[in-house]
């Protein structure tokens, strides 16, 4: 990838979600195809938060949705708790979706404007039970309370009567009522102001501890992702560049793209010299005709002839730190060993 390879996958017994060789392609007419996601693999252990970062068009949202089979991926396998979601028929998948929930970017438009908050949050229970209204309200009010919304005040109100941050809290409550095994958070704080963003991030951490949640956290803001994630995967043009434990990734980025992203992130400190940071070269290539070999090579300052010919594979460079690059900024472990 950025490259392919599965060196970074852990034994299946340690993880609850395992995605292998995932491809998502969309036909765009004229016989052309958008290669949105091209052969990425990752896994998540129970109670872990995996951050997916990358710029727009890198396929991070598509990856999140592909886990939920929305739409069905083109190829590959998505296993949740050992069961392959790709092999399930529509009805089985429908039942399985109770284990998978999603929180969307725009909190206001992801709530039905014509329904009352009490109904919106109770909707999953309406389908899957319990069907008794009092029991439902008990679960719903408890959940609203957990996300910092007064249940008695909110019950008969509609989405427009709440702020963006409150709507996001309600969306989170709705995702949690089914007690899912995995929640996909697709840019859940990007639309919020920074003060409200901090409230929501803190709350997600609290809920994670309380319910033992497993999260896929998709965002473009590297600082936000680092704050919430245990491991972070960096994506570029449908491929995975680097995957690592979060602190390690930010301290020792090994992929030139990760380093570029980190360098471009504005730091709220006037003493940091922003002019030392190199600028990104050129533009993101089209996912319709991605570059051969390493997809980042057209913008990479280190690219040479091998990057054009051979797609780099994921390889280990230190404990829980994997990179798909021919010229990683940190010396790879295997290479170091062979020099001994």
């Amino acid at each position: 990838m950025a490259g392919s390879g599965k060196a970074h996958l852990r034994p299946e017994s340690e993880t609850i979600l395992r995605v292998e060789d995932l491809h998502v392609e969309f036909p765009v007419g004229g016989g052309r195809t958008v290669y949105a996601v091209s052969g990425i693999s990752f896994d998540i252990a129970k109670g872990e938060t995996l951050g997916l970062v990358g710029e727009s068009g890198c396929g991070k949202s598509t990856t999140g949705r592909a886990i939920l089979q929305l739409p069905r991926p083109t190829r590959g396998s998505v296993k949740l708790g050992g069961e392959d979601l790709m092999a399930m028929d529509g009805e089985k998948m429908r039942q399985k979706r109770t284990d998978l929930q999603m929180i969307f970017q725009d909190p206001i438009s992801s709530l039905n404007p014509r329904r009352m908050v009490g109904e919106v949050v109770a909707e999953p229970l309406e389908v899957w039970g319990p069907h008794d209204a009092d029991e439902q309200w008990k679960i719903v009010s408890n959940m609203l309370d957990n996300v910092g919304i007064d249940p008695d005040v909110a019950r008969y109100k509609r989405a427009h009567e709440f702020s963006g941050g409150q709507c996001q809290r309600i969306s989170i409550a709705r995702a949690l009522v089914m007690e899912p095994e995995l929640i996909i958070c697709d840019e859940p704080v990007s639309a919020l102001d920074v003060s409200v963003q901090a409230q929501i991030l803190n709350m997600l951490e609290d809920l994670k501890a309380q319910y033992g949640l497993t999260l896929v956290f998709i965002a473009h803001d590297l600082a936000v992702v680092k704050n919430i994630s245990d491991r972070v995967a960096v994506m570029y043009l449908g491929k995975m560049c680097e995957l690592s434990e979060s602190d390690e990734l930010y301290e020792r980025p090994a992929h030139p793209y990760t380093s570029l992203l980190l360098g471009s992130t504005p730091i709220p400190d006037p003493l940091v010299n922003i002019h030392d940071v190199p600028e990104a070269e050129g533009e993101l290539p089209s996912p319709i005709s991605p570059p051969s070999g390493c997809r980042f090579r057209t913008r990479c300052p280190y690219a040479d002839e091998i990057c054009e010919r051979v797609e780099p594979q994921m390889r280990k460079i230190s404990d829980d730190h994997y990179v798909a690059c021919h010229h990683p900024l940190v010396e790879a472990e295997e290479v170091a060993v062979s020099f001994d």
Binding site: Q197, S264, I267, P268
Partner: protein, 376 residues
């Protein structure tokens, strides 16, 4: 301030007046629900060649302020009062026709959304030359050459062929470059950049911010950069004004602001930003509550219902913006951060168990309706 980025290269010509003097500017919108006090008494001066960052959350009035200065929100229900002097000339009260002599040639604006600020059915070239031909009275051919030169200066590859494309054929970053080129086309003395990079990816943001700064230095422009992101203005402005509920609550040279902030809102805003340099799962210091309703703002200090330092006085008496000991540093607070009064106020609130103070100290989860009272 003297050691800030742009002033290293640009020395202020002695005796020059400030390019822009804004005094007690108020912009109120009359709507069915009441009067929205979007900008409510803002005063500042801006010297030539300097960059001012205006920072605040949504609804703080930062965009309305910059549009009011440029006279871009002229509508029946908008009431603007106060004074905006540009190069010694009062702009308030000027008609659209009179303002035409200023827009583009004297002052220009780069907007947030490059997707919608270009006309989708007009080729890029014409959008770049229309105002050049109007203001500078050049021929079509000259304007074309100038526009191509501009496209090159904003680092658009193959500018000759880009001249004849429609905006949708370009990426967001490229379109923002075109918007910048268009704003620079008539050589304005003053540039407003209203969240110029909010809609862009982080690597593109870096490119565009560098480009703006370069253009500002090359052309000795005065710039106002409006943003919600303190990270964007940290290394790129001479001064920063922090806005809350239509007012400037603190204004200081950039480094002073970050090092010795006095207003609790500035402190809270800065502390609530996640930083890549902190270890993962670092608890963020969230601000309780949410920005106030601008139709019925709270009495006293507008930040008081959310403020961890607030005392009885804050709910009753609105603090004035006053100068601090450091030159150029102004703030509006009764119990400033880092002073004995401020510390005492914080301690008293901790002892009294005020939720917003406990939340600021990380002892309680911050929520939106904790203190705003009747927000839901």
């Amino acid at each position: 301030m003297s050691d800030a980025p742009s002033s290293q290269r640009i020395t202020k010509r002695p005796g020059d007046d400030p390019l822009l003097v804004v005094e007690n500017l108020k912009t109120h919108f009359h709507i069915d629900a009441g009067v929205v006090r979007a900008v409510d008494g803002v005063s500042f001066k801006l010297d030539r060649g300097k960059t001012l960052g205006i920072v605040g959350e949504s609804g703080s009035g930062k965009t309305v302020l910059s549009r009011s200065v440029m006279r871009l929100n002229i509508a029946e229900n908008v009431e603007t009062a106060g004074s905006v002097k540009y190069d010694g000339v009062e702009l308030l009260g000027k008609s659209n026709k009179e303002m035409r002599d200023y827009w583009g040639v004297e002052m220009a604006m780069v907007f947030q959304d490059p997707m919608t600020s270009l006309n989708p059915v007009v080729k890029v070239g014409r959008q770049l030359t229309e105002h050049v031909r109007y203001h500078l009275n050049t021929s079509k051919k000259e304007a074309r050459l100038a526009a191509i030169e501009l496209l090159r200066s904003v680092k658009i590859p193959e500018p000759e062929s880009r001249f004849d494309v429609y905006p949708h054929e370009m990426s967001g970053g490229m379109r923002q470059r075109v918007c910048i080129a268009s704003a620079l086309a008539c050589g304005p003395k003053m540039l407003f950049a209203d969240e110029p990079t909010t809609a862009l990816d982080v690597t593109v943001q870096h490119q565009i911010l560098n480009l703006l700064q370069q253009a500002q230095q090359d052309r000795f422009m005065t710039m106002i950069m409006v943003t919600h992101d303190l990270g964007v203005v940290a290394g790129r402005t001479d001064d920063i004004a922090v806005m809350y509920a239509g007012k400037i609550v603190e204004k200081a040279p950039t480094r002073t602001l970050f090092a010795q902030m006095k207003h609790p809102y500035t402190q809270a805003l800065l502390q609530s930003i996640p930083r890549a340099s902190n270890p993962k799962h670092t608890r963020l210091s969230a601000i309780s509550g949410r920005p106030p309703d601008l139709i019925n703002p709270p009495s006293g200090c507008k930040f008081s219902p959310r403020c961890p330092y607030a005392q009885d006085k804050c709910y009753e008496v609105e603090p004035e913006l006053k100068a601090d000991t450091t030159p150029g540093h102004e703030f509006a607070c009764h119990f400033p951060v880092g002073t004995p009064e401020g510390d005492a106020a914080f301690e008293a609130n901790m002892a009294a168990g005020k939720p917003q103070t406990l939340a600021a100290a990380g002892k309680l989860a911050a929520t939106e309706d904790l203190v705003t009272g009747g927000a839901v």
